[in-house]
């Protein structure tokens, strides 16, 4: 892995050039990940708190048309939408967020290849940045990630000081992005980078994901689920802000008398409607079952199938939960139950 150094000044110039070259830059801002218009909006703060929502929507939009249709007397004409091939740079994302794309890729390329996702992710370059923020809801280390992990990034930044950044070029895609701007980079100092990385405070590892997985396997009917279900309000903000939750719903919407579209919209497993059958029967008819599904999907079903935990430990779902249901606390408790 090649390593370089870039000054803040040059970093801004780099961004400015990218913008000029019609590249979209997305960066964590006050109100979530935002598409910037000007390089000065770029986020270079490794100590910042997580944005409320992840950047998921730039590869997997909250709503997108997947089919357009036109009706005539007896026939329906189908028109397939095209996703624009346009480079998007996600700049300054935390390692936990960066990891989400590779986790999501598995589900979106499992049996059906989701072109909507693939076109976007193919055109997305991830510039991650080391994270120096850790609060009580962070637990990336427990899901086998770390604040200094460049895993998943195409380029990874490590701030050396206020005005200099170590630049790890992780992938080809990263190298390609930076190639035209080589003159902004100078020779790297991997020693310093390592030292800085070593000094970063890591969140404590609080559970063993494998133990948790095994416990879930045998405890589908455990009373533990009821204690959470009782408190959960069944909103799905947890799923919607989650970097790796990927469920969606498909609905048809008419545009006018003859035309309409089929929309793919984010959905959340905490909704009562999520599993409601047309017959009116609902296999997950109370909140405990729905919450069990949430935890099981993240820590058992997905790992079973894809050998990936469907969680990056970012803590967003818990930070924003209106009733402070803390996934870290819950999985830790499960871990304890598993030990007993």
């Amino acid at each position: 892995m090649e390593e370089k150094i870039i000054s803040k000044e040059n970093l801004l110039k780099l961004c400015s050039d990218l913008l000029k070259n019609n590249v979209d830059i997305v960066t964590p801002g006050e109100k979530g990940y935002i598409k910037i218009k000007n390089e000065s909006e770029i986020s270079l703060n490794s100590k910042s708190k997580h944005t409320k929502a992840s950047f998921k929507e730039y590869v997997f939009p909250k709503s997108e048309p997947i089919i357009y249709y036109k009706k005539n007397q007896s026939d329906v004409e189908i028109i397939e939408p095209k996703v624009e091939e346009k480079t998007t740079v996600i700049f300054g994302a935390k390692p936990c967020d960066v990891r989400s794309i590779s986790i999501l890729s598995k589900i979106f390329n499992w049996d059906y290849k989701d072109e909507f996702f693939n076109v976007r992710s193919r055109n997305t370059v991830l510039i991650g940045m080391m994270c120096e923020y850790a609060d009580e809801f962070c637990f990336c280390t427990s899901v086998n990630l770390s604040p200094t992990s460049s895993d998943g990034s195409d380029v990874f930044l490590v701030p050396h000081d206020e005005n200099t950044f170590g630049v790890k070029i992780v992938t080809e895609k990263g190298a390609d992005l930076l190639k035209p701007y080589e003159n902004y980079l100078s020779a790297g100092n991997s020693e310093k980078t390592k030292a800085i990385e070593a000094s970063v405070k890591q969140p404590e590892k609080v559970f063993d994901a494998e133990k948790v997985r095994q416990w879930i396997s045998g405890n589908f009917e455990n009373d533990y689920w009821n204690s959470i279900g009782k408190m959960c309000l069944g909103c799905a903000q947890c799923a919607f802000v989650c970097p790796v939750c990927h469920c969606f719903d498909i609905v048809d919407e008419d545009y006018n008398y003859y035309e309409g579209r089929r929309m793919k919209n984010w959905d959340g497993c905490q909704f009562d409607m999520f599993t409601k059958h047309a017959s009116g029967h609902n296999p997950r008819d109370d909140q405990s079952k729905r919450y069990r599904q949430r935890i099981s999907h993240k820590f058992k079903y997905y790992p079973d199938k894809f050998e990936e935990i469907l969680c990056t430990g970012c803590g967003r779902c818990s930070r924003g939960c209106p009733v402070t249901i803390d996934i870290k606390g819950i999985v830790t408790e499960i871990n304890e139950l598993a030990i007993k």
């Binding site: 048309p65 939408p81 095209k82 545009y255 929309m263």
Partner: protein
């Protein structure tokens, strides 16, 4: 083309007993009025849900006209009183959200007021015409129109 002179598009939600019959009377009296209004007949103004109005705008209406029996004349005793209370809240909400008040018109037209019906329709059509197409709503409607 087919759509000559059909702009602006106006949807009217009217009650069966007063305004619809008032419009019938305008017809029997051979009073002429502008042709833009498309009327949807309901039993009573009490049946008019604000979502109808929103949906009409979503479907491209430039103006919505709501009309029923005068207070005290309701065929169903009090449907229009309940409707009126909802409208008070609703039209103030729309105004606050920036929907131009002149695109939504409420009126009482009784079965005997054929002339008033004509006046209301003409005045409202002119008002909406002057405002032009409802661009703001068109914009939010146009997100994700066919791009394939």
């Amino acid at each position: 083309m087919e759509n000559k002179n059909q702009d602006p598009k106006i949807v009217a939600f009217v009650c069966n007993w007063c305004t619809y019959t008032g419009a019938d009377l305008a017809g029997t009296s051979r009073l002429k009025y502008q042709p833009n209004v498309r009327m949807i007949k309901l039993p009573c103004t009490g049946r008019i849900d604000p979502v109808f109005i929103i949906k009409a705008f979503e479907k491209g209406a430039d103006g919505v006209l709501v009309s029923g029996c005068h207070p005290g004349d309701c065929h169903y005793n009090a449907g229009n009183y309940h409707a009126r209370r909802r409208w008070i809240m609703f039209h103030k909400l729309l105004d606050y959200l920036g929907i131009d008040e002149s695109r939504l018109h409420f009126s009482w037209v009784s079965a005997s007021e054929g002339k008033k019906f004509v006046d209301v329709v003409n005045a409202f059509t002119n008002k909406v015409k002057a405002k032009g197409p409802f661009k703001k709503y068109e914009n939010i409607n146009k997100e994700f129109v066919i791009n394939g």
